[in-house]
């Protein structure tokens, strides 16, 4: 059978959208020097929040609740890591596990043990006049739900904000040398807290996109490791907004490729293709010389100030 290239690219961008949203959140968090393994947790919390919000008040309320839920999950992370000075890897893992468990439990408590496919309205694709008629990339990039356009705005915004504002400079300095930031009158704790809050909001938004722009319902564990993939995207994207966009697109394509391979009817268990994005994640993490471009203080806790 033939594969429609334009359709493939459109689906790739659709799949890449939540990944890129979460990755931009993580980019900001990592430029401040924190690795947020709670991103997966923020995402599933966001997905559940989207379900609750959308079934009560429509799509807008769904997105709002998604952001709130993502922030709530990450605030817990920020409090434990920045004020209680706990280890960020352990705290992030705990937040993710907690969010996965809690959303599953709440889902069953609120919507019944069967969790009978509760469906919520979803965002329809909106074509951008003119641009969507471009060959190949037109439908791929300019016939998408509004969430994808929000992503474009976010990417451009970050690309401008990081080098062109004092706040962006403060963020980068905090990730490189927190004591240098401190000496310049910047509070690294405050910077990292805001960065985590932003990362949580974006993670929540990404979870919301899964529910409100793609699936139209919630399922336990539906984030399915996308939070971790987003972290890998930041590494592959060399901590730069442009790099993250390209890396997200690569991962989106890899996810779509599994359907292509399945449709080819090769005599191979389809689970192998399902594993494709995750195998790619592993290869990326193992293969990149990540110290070269990474913020110098990434993962280093702040000194306990006397």
């Amino acid at each position: 059978m033939s594969i429609d290239a334009a359709e493939f690219m459109q689906a790739s961008v659709r799949t890449a959208t939540p990944l890129a949203l979460a990755a931009y959140g993580e980019l900001v968090v990592e430029r401040a020097g924190v690795i947020n393994l709670g991103l997966e947790g923020a995402m599933i919390a966001g997905a559940f929040g989207a379900l609750v919000g959308a079934s009560a008040g429509g799509i807008g309320a769904g997105f709002a609740m998604a952001v709130v839920a993502g922030c709530a999950a990450t605030l817990l992370m920020a409090w434990v890591v920045l004020w209680l000075r706990a280890d960020a890897v352990i705290a992030g893992t705990a937040v993710t596990l907690l969010a996965l468990g809690l959303t599953g439990t709440l889902y069953r408590a609120l919507y019944g043990a069967q969790g009978a496919a509760l469906s919520v309205p979803t965002l329809a694709p909106v074509a951008v006049p003119g641009l969507h008629q471009l060959p190949w990339i037109g439908p791929a990039f300019f016939e998408q739900p509004l969430a994808t356009y929000a992503l474009y705005a976010m990417a451009c915004g970050l690309w401008w904000w990081l080098p062109r504002t004092h706040a962006g400079l403060a963020l980068r300095a905090t990730g490189e040398r927190p004591d240098a930031a401190l000496a310049a009158g910047i509070s690294p704790v405050t910077v990292r807290a805001w960065a985590l809050l932003f990362g949580g909001a974006m993670g929540g938004l990404a979870g919301g996109v899964l529910v409100l722009a793609q699936v139209g319902t919630f399922a336990e564990g539906m984030s399915a490791g996308r939070g971790f993939i987003a972290i890998a995207i930041v590494v592959l994207g060399r901590w730069s907004p442009v790099g993250v966009a390209l890396a997200a697109l690569l991962f989106g394509s890899a996810s779509q490729l599994q359907y292509v391979f399945q449709s080819l009817g090769w005599p191979v268990p389809y689970q192998l293709f399902l594993a494709l994005p995750y195998v790619l994640t592993l290869l990326v993490l193992a293969g990149t010389q990540r110290r070269a471009a990474a913020p110098a203080s990434l993962g280093a806790p702040l000194d306990t100030a006397p």
Binding site: P163, H166, A170, R172
Partner: protein, 479 residues
Amino acid sequence: MSDHALVLRAVSKQFGAVRALAGASLTVRRGTLHAVLGENGAGKTTLMRIAFGMMAPDEGEVEIDGRPVTLSSSAAAIALGLGMVHQHFTLVPAMSAAENIALGGRGRLDLGAVAEQVRVLSARTGLAVDPDTRVDALGVGAQQRIEILKALHGNARTLILDEPTAVLTPTESEELFGWLRRFVAEGGTAVLVTHKLQEALSVADDVTVLRRGERVLTARAAEIDIVTLVRALTGEDRAPETRVRTPRSQTVGAVVAQLTDVSVRDARGVLRVHQANVTCHAGEIIGVAGVEGSGVHELLRVLAGRLTPTAGTVSLPDTVGFVPEDRLRDAVIEDFSLSENFALRGAAARRGRMPWPELRAHTARAMAAHDVRAPSPDVRAGTLSGGNQQKFVVGREMENRPALVIAENPVRGLDLRATEHVLRELAASAASGSAVVIFSTDVDELLPLADRMLVTFAGQVREVPVVRDAIARALVGAA
């Protein structure tokens, strides 16, 4: 306006069980260069951090330009016209000079405009800095100029410099002092924290000495002598002996270690040491000098057997003692007890069960022999003062009378007494037949010790006479 740029009055600060400041005071007259002296732990840095708003005092008052202030952060101090150049630079290595200088501002960031301001400021003050170069590509002297420009860019009228010459070559130090004299002549005020007495006396207008968190002396530099200063610093009548040995005559012992045409490339392929030839003889002390990036650390690590060169032949004795510059990174583990740290040396050669009782007794003997003041071999290394940690490291490395001893900045940051002790140990080691190689960033430390002098510059190793001027010229590559 008040005649005093900065006043700290009866300031106290407690860290847990340690009383860092016990009612210390400092009065800095406007338009003067004021040196603050004190041994390790005397409270110099704590007092300066309080003045700069980095920590709040438990008791006491701070006045800036005659007005009592409560500083909530260093941003507040900066807003009141203070600037601080920290001992360990607070620059972001991966950023340009302009980005570093812009750090702490608000709103939009126009790097081109900042770079232009830096060029103007640089031209006006004579502090040469290229705003677009990344900091990690610059030497320490240039980094320090960026720190000063950063403070001046924040409109600092009073500059606090914490041990600014610790990392500089003699020439760079002289340049800095020349600049500071001009700065105060034009109405600025500078506070110079140092432990170098001669430096304080020759460059400062006023001198304040702190001991155990209290002010013990403030005087005009022109009106006191070095003996008074030493007495105030140590609280003893006897000044510590600075001359610990007389350099040997030309009688040369057997060859202990030899490097022949040794070259070292680092992980990025940069040539760090180029065809170095070094011979160490039994019983001699070789002084080594070299600025950061000259290949001096690589050379010393090859001699210590910790780095395999990319080319050339190395012949080392079986036993080598190494006292590295950064002891907390390379010599001791803070969270290990002293016995455990002691056991680290030679750990690779041991097999099977650890003979703890034996090692513990051994550690206790070494502590007694090397004047390491700690309650027992079971305390964590991190609880010791810097001086005692260093005495412990030196003692451990000397334990089996190594044929070759390599010491990197062995007395950096130590107070007078610990310095004297460590230098005596090294001299005694040479007297007992070891070859001793001592690197120091402070050439004055080496002059009374060294039999021979090696100077590294741009990867080349050169032997020079043990004479201040000759060393100073070789440090910057001049003939």
